[in-house]
């Protein structure tokens, strides 16, 4: 039970961080920035 909750939560959290990083990188490359 512990590892199931730990691994699923970790994946969701790091996916959110990675998505945020991708969005930030794309918007930084836009000419308006």
């Amino acid at each position: 039970m512990f590892w199931s909750i730990f691994i699923k939560s970790f994946i969701i959290m790091m996916a959110i961080v990675a998505i945020g990083q991708v969005i930030a990188t794309i918007s930084a490359k836009k000419p308006s920035q």
Binding site: I5, S9, M14, Q21
Partner: protein, 487 residues
């Protein structure tokens, strides 16, 4: 009374706080600009990451998550996931902007975009909101100490408050940062040890019996972190909106970004701060789920079952490390929630309004005095145990319009009239929503204040920006481009 646990934890806190405080203040450059409040804008990666993670990890992550898990099961983890979203937003946008513009406070940024009136309004409200959280954390210290040692909540709040004052008052931001780094390590040692020893105490030496309890009772959903669609909309999304748009612009979190060595430091800190903050919730959820399955603790109810279980089942020395771990989480938030409103008072009120020629030393002295006064009042109020947690929803919603005014002002349009109208409209509606029967009368009592202020902010600010005049976005303005060239 468990005097051994109490004495060991207090001695640990005194050694860490005074040891690091003395070491940091020895190398403290007192006359350097922003030395006390912003650590000379020179905090390294590890310190920034630990401070960001621990600043938004406090009482609600411990006692709040234990209680939420009791009712909704593992999906209470969305409270922690909401804080990960917050850290992403801060480390990749608002935190970078305040570091780039080299402001000392968020209200100072608002003055650059919207003028002195907006700065003053936001200073008063932001300091008050953060101070409300300080009162909550002071209560939290008292409750955690009381439930794990048998000491009175009043004594716990007073001694915890004094430790919290020394956590910050000796050398300011730099002291808080380095103590946080040590405490982040202790926090995880405590959590891992407590979880391992708890598992050993269960049949089979693992958590299988806990899982079986819920499955057999037909409550398998309690083990599912995604939960139902209803939980995702009413709990997960509501938390993400409220936490991100309030804390995402709060001085409480942004003062660490202002103190970072560079923008790059903040971006890198995200990859450490997010898991350090977020995974705390996993341990809290597992402890909360376990407490409900054991009849002797389940009978105590959601408020004290988990903490009582830990004290009863774990060896004394593990309890000491776990209590130190919980105090690390709460005291770090206490320190930042006392330092940041004190900084707003010293910079935005004292220096800005009363003494524009104040030296760095004078500002530091005023900040120190404000830290002590704000903390002492919080301790006095917390000892009477008012229902502060129920006010958090209302309290957080006050900063939602500030977040969007900063975004609009930096990237779209700036108008003082729009800013003040948006702030006043959102704040009035927020108070009406909490203190009148209007939400019930229009059948919308379940809608949280964060959603309501978000809608009002967008309606007022967008209509006024589209309809009226105003200066161009700050990042496209001549004053910004000029400072960039000079820099």
């Amino acid at each position: 009374m468990r005097y051994g646990i109490l004495a060991a934890v207090i001695i640990y806190e005194i050694v860490v706080i005074f040891g690091i405080g003395w070491w940091v203040s020895r190398n403290h450059k007192k006359d350097e600009a922003g030395a006390f409040a912003l650590a000379g804008r020179d905090l390294p990666l590890g310190v920034v990451a630990a401070t960001m993670a621990l600043t938004v990890l406090g009482t609600a992550h411990i006692l709040g998550v234990f209680e939420m898990t009791w009712f909704m099961g593992a999906s209470a983890i969305w409270f922690s996931i909401a804080h990960v979203v917050l850290l992403v937003v801060v480390c990749l946008s608002t935190g970078l902007w305040v570091r780039r513009l080299e402001v000392t406070t968020v209200p100072e940024l608002l003055e650059r975009m919207y003028g002195k009136g907006t700065r003053l309004l936001v200073s008063c409200v932001m300091a008050a909101v953060i101070w409300g959280i300080l009162t909550l954390e002071t209560q939290g210290i008292g409750i955690v100490l009381s439930s794990m040692t048998g000491w009175s909540i009043k004594n716990g709040a007073i001694v915890g408050g004094i430790l919290g004052i020394f956590y910050v008052v000796l050398a300011g931001m730099k002291e808080v940062g380095w103590i946080n780094l040590v405490n982040a390590v202790i926090m995880y040692i405590g959590l891992v040890l407590a979880t391992v020893f708890l598992a050993f105490k269960l049949p089979g030496g693992n958590f299988d019996t806990v899982a079986n309890f819920y499955t057999d009772a037909g409550e398998g959903f309690m083990l599912n972190i995604v939960g139902s669609t209803e939980i995702l909309i009413t709990f997960a999304l509501a938390n993400i909106v409220s936490v991100t748009f309030c804390q995402g612009i709060s001085q409480m979190l942004l003062q660490t970004c202002m103190s970072a060595k560079s923008e790059q430091t903040i971006k890198k800190a995200l990859w450490i701060a997010a898991p350090v903050n977020g995974l705390f919730g996993v341990f809290a959820v597992v402890i909360g789920l376990t407490a409900k399955t054991l009849p002797e603790f389940s009978a105590l109810g959601p408020k004290v079952a988990a903490t009582t279980m830990m004290v009863e089942l774990l060896p004394g020395w593990v309890c000491v490390v776990l209590l130190a771990s919980f105090l690390a989480a709460i005291l770090s938030t206490f320190a930042m929630t006392s330092l940041t409103p004190a900084t707003i008072f010293a910079v935005d009120i004292y220096k800005n309004l009363f003494n524009p020629n104040a030296t760095e030393q004078q500002v530091t002295t005023v900040t120190r005095i404000a830290i002590i006064i704000l903390s002492v009042i919080a301790m006095a109020i917390a000892a009477f145990l008012p229902p502060i947690l129920s006010a958090i929803n209302w309290l957080f919603a006050w900063l939602v319009p500030v977040f969007w005014l900063v975004v609009f002002g930096l990237f779209w349009k700036r108008s003082a009239k729009t800013a003040i109208a948006t702030l006043l409209a959102s704040w009035i509606i927020n108070s009406i929503w909490s203190f009148t029967s209007l939400p019930a009368a229009i059948n919308m009592a379940d809608i949280p204040n964060g959603y309501v202020t978000l809608v009002v902010t967008f309606v007022v600010a967008v209509i006024m920006n589209l309809g009226g005049g105003g200066k161009p976005a700050y990042f496209k303005s001549e004053e910004y481009l000029l400072t960039k060239k000079v820099g």
